[in-house]
Symmetry: C2
Subunit: 389 residues, 2 copies
């Protein structure tokens, strides 16, 4: 098994930096507050048009033509429409299955958010809040969502697998990202009691989720667990024979490498990728098939300034408004990090680029030069990605 | 001069069949009635998200990577935002110029609609109404819009030219399309007095428009006139030396060929293309550089049933809900008509495919099988288009 895919990020789970127009006229940094700052009618109109236009049949045709075989689709905890004011999106996922099956792709459903969040990131649905795991009713709610997803799609040829939960955070990443400052809570009262999850909780949750999903899901469909930003921590996990086709998902961004002290040169990046990503995936591949479920070409060198761990205008960083390095240099850097990363994933069982597309405008909005390297389509069209991926 | 391009149809001038979600919950067939059936806030929300998501920076990157050099951008008469409740879109066109210049493309601005319409088509902005040319104030208004566009973009490297007005209709096409029945007016009162334009009016308007635009526009930028569906009617037009770089635009769809009796076989289509399109363009090319500003691969044979001149579910036709012919046969038909049409345009000065993309869902909505052949991206990705275009 080797999977080559892209994420359909920002389709059903919003990220402001990827489609800023959705947030126009509000101070919201995430979907939680977007819904509270717009009238019900306007919120609904924006979300529905976004969902109808951002990803469509033609995108599945294109992804197939790009030589990929699978898409990872982040979905929110309110996918079934039972948590107003948020709007369900199971109809969109149904359509995606029809498109995937028509054009020969498969889908990894990725539960990307949980009520009150599992990580406090903006992409967790509510910035600066992280207390889902402290609410047993909500943990049960999430297990139910997973079970319903498994029931609904279990027999679909288009189902590759289900990822239990995206990026539940532990204390190491909570500190490295400095979550309370990088993603300040809009309502400090609401954020009270937030903090990283415990490893004990995550393990228990993964075991429960496996049972609840596998009850419905045929053995050949994958159940994916995220490494909680600790790739090595799973050597003694799910060793029992009953666990079948469990895939370990690790997310590797060069911005994390930079925060870890990786030198901001092409040589620095490629060495880090080889010595860390490739080496560590190879080791863990003895225990689980390992995929890199999120990565991209973004790095500070190609941006032209130190982004201090991938911080953007939205984090109050100035960014670059004009190109500092030539297009040729840029291409050279991106091709080098693309090649090195693709080689690293080869030590495991595959990858999903983050993300298939983003609407971020590097030309008309100041500070975003270099952020197109998160956009798979642009990376392909600009020649930054090796044809043989 | 040879131009290879696509239309950015349905971005700033809506067509319901190309993005049905915008019209959800209404009975509107066009933007005129869409605005009247939605609250101001919801209309604005839908339009703004559509404009922000349908065409973005990445699309300009992709169009360049597809080997094209120019985009034709249909714009509405209310582009400057001076005709409420319709929402201006000059900011979007400004952005498009920045993207085009950044990625090495040029823009043909195409004034696609006029107040109370110049053709009565849905894509003229208001179905079944055609009485713009009878209102001198509105004719003057349109001339002013053209002049303002010329003034605003005259010095832009990204400007290829300005098309005076899309598809003003004469009596032959009015009858062939049976406009009052194919595009029934939502409000018969409003449609009263509608009918085809006269040739005399169109010629006068083109001469006036040329003067008003050229006053600002450098001589090397093109001024484009549509043939009003009468390619031969312009041999004695604008022969005076003062008219510089005027391009004649003809729109050729196989659905018109079918209405003209063209046999619905691959051989029938390619013969018709050669004997009519290619031959007629070659003749007119002695008088003007001729472009085919709209065409596509759509034809009844590949759909699997007679579409009676390109009528869809929206015209009350049933259409096809499952594939009747194999993917290989389809590919063969599309490649044949693509090749023949590209050869025909070579007798002239270039082409713009209609359209770059459409959101029409052939998988999840009944009756739309075959309509993906209007989508340049899908045609490319599905291998229906020769790589050497």
């Amino acid at each position: 098994m080797y999977v080559k895919g892209v994420n359909l990020g920002n389709w059903l789970v919003l990220e402001k930096w990827m489609s800023p127009a959705l947030f126009d006229g509000t101070t919201a940094e995430d979907e939680y507050y977007l819904s509270s700052q717009l009238s019900k009618e306007v919120y609904e109109a924006r979300i529905k048009i976004h969902r109808a236009e951002y990803i469509t049949e033609g995108d599945f045709v294109r992804i197939k033509a790009m030589g990929l075989d699978t898409v990872r689709i982040p979905v929110p905890y309110f996918i079934f429409g039972d948590r107003p004011p948020f709007i369900g999106c199971i109809a969109e996922l149904d359509k995606a299955f029809n498109w995937a099956e028509r054009y020969g792709l498969q889908i990894l459903i990725d539960l990307h958010t949980a009520t009150d969040s599992q990580n406090g990131f903006d992409n967790g649905g509510i910035s600066g809040v992280c207390k889902w795991s402290r609410q047993p009713d909500e943990v049960e709610f999430i297990l139910n969502v997973l079970e319903h997803l498994a029931e609904r799609y279990k027999d679909r040829a288009g189902l590759w697998g289900i990822e239990v939960l995206n990026e539940p955070i532990l204390d190491n990443m909570w500190e490295m990202m400095d979550v309370p400052n990088r993603y300040p809570a809009a309502d400090p009262e609401k954020a009270k009691g937030s903090g990283p999850n415990t490893m004990e909780f995550i393990r228990r949750f993964y075991l429960d989720a496996y049972d609840r999903i596998r009850k419905h899901l045929p053995e050949e469909k994958y159940i994916v667990i995220h490494d909680a930003f600790n790739l090595h921590a799973w050597k003694d996990f799910m060793r029992e024979e009953k666990y079948k086709n469990v895939v370990l998902d690790t997310h590797q961004y060069l911005m994390f490498a930079e925060m870890d002290g990786c030198e901001q040169t092409a040589r620095g990046y490629t060495r880090y990728i080889k010595e860390h990503y490739e080496d560590e995936i190879r080791k863990m591949q003895q225990y689980f098939p390992v995929i890199c479920g999120e990565w991209c070409l973004f790095n500070s060198l190609a941006v032209g300034c130190d982004t201090r761990g991938g911080q953007s205008v939205l984090n109050g960083q100035e960014g670059m408004s004009s190109e500092r390095i030539s297009q040729d240099q840029k291409k050279e850097i991106y091709q080098a990090v693309a090649k090195a990363q693709l080689a690293a994933w080869r030590a495991g069982s595959g990858y999903f680029f983050w993300s298939y597309k983003l609407l971020t405008d590097t030309v008309n909005t100041p500070g975003w030069v270099g952020w197109d390297s998160w956009d798979f389509g642009r990376c392909m069209d600009l020649g930054w990605f090796p044809a043989d991926n």
